[in-house]
């Protein structure tokens, strides 16, 4: 590993992406607005992306970069479908609140 090429140690990247990841998780759990939840999901995915890039650079293996591209495309698709579904669900409702969407239980 070429320490000098990397001004920032690998551990920091891992730490950063973990922090981002858990912010995403918190976002999904705490916020009630579905859009915010979708954004938090995106956040989680991007944290993983960051990790891939860091390790790709660390292992000098381009698979990480390819994986990152793959993740970005899939995230985009998922966001599109997510927004479509959110629109369908909340078109007929008064306010955009995930907790109202609780018809099925038990």
């Amino acid at each position: 590993m070429h320490a000098n090429l990397l001004p920032v140690a690998l551990a920091n990247y891992v730490a950063l992406s973990s922090v981002i990841f858990f912010i995403g998780v918190a976002g999904v759990v705490l916020r009630r607005n579905p859009l915010i939840m979708l954004m938090s999901i995106e956040l989680m995915w991007n944290a993983a992306n960051l990790l891939f890039l860091a390790f790709a650079r660390a292992w000098l293996n381009n698979a990480g970069h390819i994986f990152a591209f793959l993740v970005i495309t899939v995230a985009a698709a998922e966001a599109a479908i997510g927004l479509a579904i959110v629109v369908i669900v909340f078109r007929s409702r008064a306010n955009v609140d995930v907790d109202e969407v609780a018809m099925m239980k038990g």
Binding site: V14, S17, F21, G24, V25, V28, P34, M37, L38, I41, M44, W45, A47, A48, N49, L51, F52, A54, F55, A56, A58, W59, N61, A63, G64, I66, F67, L70, V71, V74, A77, E78, I81, G82, A84, I85, V86, I88, V89, S92, V98, V101, A102, M103, M104, K105, G106
Partner: protein, 472 residues
């Protein structure tokens, strides 16, 4: 310049291309048709495409080839999984014969074909990227399919499924990233590097990866999504989802588990939650009123059984898991076919109450349903019983006796749970429920086909030794 994509590689992914391409063709035909392609045209086309994909995959049965230098595994048990996925896809398309609106049928068929492609990709996936790609392709198509039915519950189930599944994929990705960090390569084969266990990244990566897999298999703590989604989604989609997601994910887990040289430590929590879901799934079934929710919990328990078969990474275990998955597919789809017959236009019939007094009104249907239920419960003459015994043998041989005990306890509880429906059907003293939807020839055919398969599998149990090659 090495030729990156050899003839063998093309051969490996042709079934996927057929399925994916077929979806495009269905959409094109729908576009060119004057107004909307009638229902049966798109369905017929979809089934045709699937048959072609299945036939082609069958031809590559004998060979096992590492396509795309470790990206996609051809042959081996991948083909069997692909066959199972194709059969359940054809089955759910057949069920669509009486569900959903005409004008949407083309879209539904296309989505279904794409999710089948995703699942087939997962079945053969040999490295993290293909796993993720297959998983997401399957899931994205399913999010839309869940929302297809006009009912508000269907939209709600789509939303829930999307958000929760994406979160789980997030965990999966994070796990993959850490694994990539630990091993330096994306292929599953790299997991066999020595000294991995000393690296904390390997442990955390493995953990998060397994969380993602557990969610998809709907094992106990991560099963919370399945009852709502199964209930909300239209019946054919639920049927499709209950088998295909389990099949694809099981293949991925199998490759992951068998790749780990000394994975007991890493996989232990996974088998623990498999055990918990066996007990919890069956327990939850006791208090259900909606048939689809009941089959959802049953799916949770059955997933537990299948994972238990893989305990200890024994070669036999893999065979028995596949045998049980095949048996589960037939039993489950049969039960859904009968449920399809019973549910009315607005699918309010899928309640368990619909079975009251069925023994009198439709003796044949009642007999078929009780046969499937007995199979799910593991009653002797059915494949379910044989499957359970094989899994018992595998777990006991692999030294996971506690898992076998949990399996026995789970079966006992399930015995009573399934009997509640059995009892409703044969209670002459109760008032009969609404009439049965009789205009679904395809559903009848499907149910009959599943029943025949379950019977065949009991007495000629695809004796794993000759049908399934060893795990490659």
């Amino acid at each position: 310049m090495p030729n990156f994509i050899t003839h063998e590689d093309w051969l490996a992914i042709t079934p996927l291309l057929i399925a994916g391409g077929g979806a495009l063709i269905v959409l094109l035909v729908d576009l060119l048709w004057p107004k909307h392609a009638p229902r049966y045209v798109s369905l017929a086309l979809g089934i045709g495409v699937l048959l072609a994909a299945g036939a082609f995959a069958a031809t590559t049965y004998g060979r096992s080839y590492d396509a795309f230098n470790g990206g996609f595994m051809l042959g081996g048990f991948a083909v069997v999984f692909q066959e199972i996925i194709v059969v359940s896809a054809i089955f759910s398309l057949a069920l669509f014969g009486t569900f959903g609106r005409d004008d949407r049928m083309a879209g539904i068929t296309a989505l279904l074909l794409w999710s089948t492609t995703g699942a087939m990709l997962m079945a053969g996936a040999a490295n993290l990227m293909t796993i993720f790609l297959g998983l997401e392709l399957l899931s994205l198509a399913l999010y839309c399919l869940c929302g297809v039915a006009g009912r508000p519950a269907s939209q709600e189930s789509a939303l829930k499924y999307l958000i929760l599944s994406s979160t789980a994929s997030g965990f999966l990705l994070f796990g993959m990233a850490l694994l990539f960090g630990a091993t330096g390569s994306v292929t599953l084969a790299s997991l066999t590097l020595p000294g991995l266990t000393a690296n904390p990244l390997y442990w955390m990566g493995g953990g998060f990866f397994l969380v993602g897999i557990a969610f998809k298999l709907s094992l106990m703590p991560f099963h919370v999504w399945s009852p709502d989604v199964y209930e909300g989604a239209p019946l054919p989609v639920t049927a499709f989802m209950s088998v295909v997601t389990k099949a694809g994910t099981l293949a991925v887990f199998a490759r992951f588990a068998y790749a780990l040289p000394h994975g007991e430590k890493l996989l232990l929590p996974f088998f623990v939650i498999a055990g918990i879901s066996m007990i919890g799934g069956n327990l939850a079934m006791l208090a259900q009123t909606d048939l689809k929710r009941l089959l959802a919990y049953s799916g949770v328990a059955q997933a537990g059984y299948m994972v238990a078969a893989l305990a200890g990474a024994s070669a036999l275990g893999m065979r028995y898991a596949i045998y049980y998955l095949a048996a589960y597919m037939f039993m489950n789809l049969g039960a859904f076919a009968i449920a399809a017959l019973l549910s009315g236009e607005r699918e309010e019939g899928a309640q368990i109450a619909a079975f009251r007094g069925l023994g009198q009104r439709q003796p044949l249907l009642a007999a078929a349903m009780s046969f499937f239920l007995l199979a799910l419960a593991g009653f002797p003459p059915t494949a379910g019983f044989l499957g359970k015994i094989l899994i018992l043998a595998a777990t006991v041989n692999a030294g996971y006796a506690w898992l076998a005990a949990l399996l026995i306890a789970g079966t006992a509880i399930s015995l009573y749970a399934y009997f509640k429906i059995f009892r409703l059907m044969y209670d002459p003293h109760d008032s009969p429920a609404p009439a049965v939807r009789t205009s679904a020839p395809l559903a009848y055919a499907g149910a009959a086909f599943c029943a025949v398969c379950v019977i065949i599998m009991t007495f000629y149990p695809l004796t794993p030794s000759n049908v399934l090659p060893l795990v490659k």
